[in-house]
Symmetry: C2
Subunit: 329 residues, 2 copies
DNA sequence: CTGTTAGCGCATTCAG
DNA sequence: CTGAATGCGCTAACAG
């Protein structure tokens, strides 16, 4: 028995002949290692978990693919869980993953309440935050500078001359979205604007997807004075907004500018091509998995990796219609 | 010990008082069930695996989300694996999932060689085919009628008057793509056309994504006589083709019609809005997971569930430019 | 190099 | 309802 075990886990110390015999025997019998038994015995798990807001959202599916690729290099597989931004689901999945004994969890949290995540980490299941800063929590994290992303949006629209901007926002508790909104406000303030007049928040009911964004367009158009630009929290919402504006007969960008976020693969191919904020998605996931796999290694220290977003200017934003603003340049 | 076990697995037979005491104790101690030990003891696994061509492709990520949702209802989680249409990766993932002891595997195979999958199923890990017919294999399957999808494409383009059609195809071994091509040919034959003249296959090198599709446009445009329509095997490829045509200054649909496949959420919002074949994605995944969970139940028999695709007519297809065909209507 | 043994955490069985 | 004992498949430690 121990020789067989050695062939599997310590091949070098077994003589070539014996090893061959064992391997042949395994092949003929159709032997398959029992992962559960190995794990029970203390072997590292061959799975890692990720708990994301929505794995069907192209942003997250791309992030997950990055994780998957990095994990595969270390012989691990990825368990994918979607919370739909519901705290109860997040809690449930974290518990299930802990029971499963995953090597660690990549968590895009539904809010900044990280108590459960920190406790999980303490109990021995490493947690890496995704798209959320470490803050005071003793965890690793991979993030994108969302405040900067918001600033980029503000700077771009201000430069075009917009002075009244609708901000579509979904779940205010999701940190990355809060940060973007903060950055956007900061950008307006830096330009000397009165935020309460310049920025109109428009809240989307859950699940805050494409359909909800489309429905919210009517509310934006009904505002007085009417905003001249709509900032969306992701490209999917922007697609919904574009659909809503089209059916309302509002020209983009002539009568209304639309700004997305994520730069999904198809963003440049929309009608009109979407101006948006690009973030490195696959890299984000890969970096997260990288941090996760490094946990537990000797000398490991918690780290935060931060990526930088980037404005991609296309055709969905332009100067506001005449009479709606003073042009700055 | 057995009382604790009963509280967890057989709560009804434990008196309320004792149950409470046990639950309180578990809470204060921070007890977490050990999934590996349970599984070793014979409990059903809390995971199912899926092996897809590319989890980052919106089609598959939507399918996976359907699987995830259905599994969650039964307290299970989904392990997601991407093969990138490589047989070696498929084999590797199937082995890993078997070791892991998943409840079953949802497999979108890279080819019609199902030997390994059938063997896996025989050894006790149920396999459900996704987007691939059962054929002679004794497995469950969820499929879409891909041949019909190809026919729909042919009928639509013929009706518009196209008589020379480029077919972008990626990996010919993927059954769903083969079936679509067959259906397309069948549609042309049914209209009395000479397939060898009417259909020009254009093969994309792996990974056959958006970029490869974009690059292939030049080859299509160089063909003599030049085709008047390009049929793509999915919407992502269609986006690439549209990008390529745009940069070549070819008008869609004036000079070239483009037909997609999948009807991804953004298809209607592209420039021009993409004519495509819709397939039920989330339902496909959900149905697959449903079959998987039913395996092993008493009286289970292998089944195949087949969905029907649907043509969604939008603006990327139109009659060919004058002089390129006889109009039929 | 090979055989033996113990124990990982759990569920189950059998006695009380 | 509770306590004790057993074995799932594997690995590590040790004795031959």
């Amino acid at each position: 028995m121990s020789t067989v075990s050695n062939v599997l886990n310590n091949p070098t110390i077994v003589s070539t002949g014996t090893r061959r015999r064992v391997e042949d025997a395994m092949a003929t019998v159709g032997y398959v290692r029992n992962g559960a038994a190995r794990q029970l015995r203390g072997a590292p798990s061959m799975t890692a978990g990720c708990v994301l807001l929505d794995s069907a959202n192209p942003f997250f599916s791309e992030v997950a693919r990055g994780m998957e690729d990095r994990l595969a290099e270390s012989g691990c597989m990825l368990v994918v869980c979607s919370t739909d931004v519901r705290a109860d689901r997040e809690t449930r999945y974290l518990n299930m993953l802990e029971e499963l004994g995953v090597r660690g969890v990549l968590l895009a949290p539904v809010s900044s309440d990280l108590e459960a995540a920190v406790a999980l980490d303490r109990r021995g299941t490493p947690v890496v935050l995704v798209d959320h800063p470490r803050g005071r929590a003793r965890l690793c994290a991979v993030t994108v500078d969302n405040a900067r992303g918001g600033e980029l949006a503000a700077e771009h629209l201000l430069e075009l001359g917009h002075r009244r901007i609708a901000l579509l926002h979904a779940e205010v508790r999701v940190r990355s979205l809060v940060d973007r909104a903060d950055g956007l406000r900061r950008g307006l303030v830096a330009a000397g604007l009165d935020v309460s007049a310049a920025l109109v928040p428009v809240s989307l009911p859950p699940p805050a997807g494409l359909a909800e964004a489309e429905a919210a367009v009517a509310r934006v158009l009904a505002l007085a004075p009417r905003p001249t630009a709509i900032v969306c929290f992701n490209d999917m919402a922007a697609v919904g907004v574009m659909r809503g504006l089209r059916s309302a007969g509002v020209d983009i960008p002539g009568q209304m500018s639309v700004l997305g976020y994520d730069d999904l693969v198809f963003a440049g191919q929309l009608a009109p091509a979407l101006t948006t904020i690009r973030q490195p998605t696959r890299e984000l996931g890969r970096a997260g998995a990288d941090l996760l796999l490094a946990e537990g290694l000797p000398g490991h220290r918690h780290r935060e990796i931060r990526f930088t977003p980037e404005l991609v200017t296309r055709q969905s934003t332009a100067a506001p219609p005449r009479g709606h603003s003073r042009r700055t340049r």
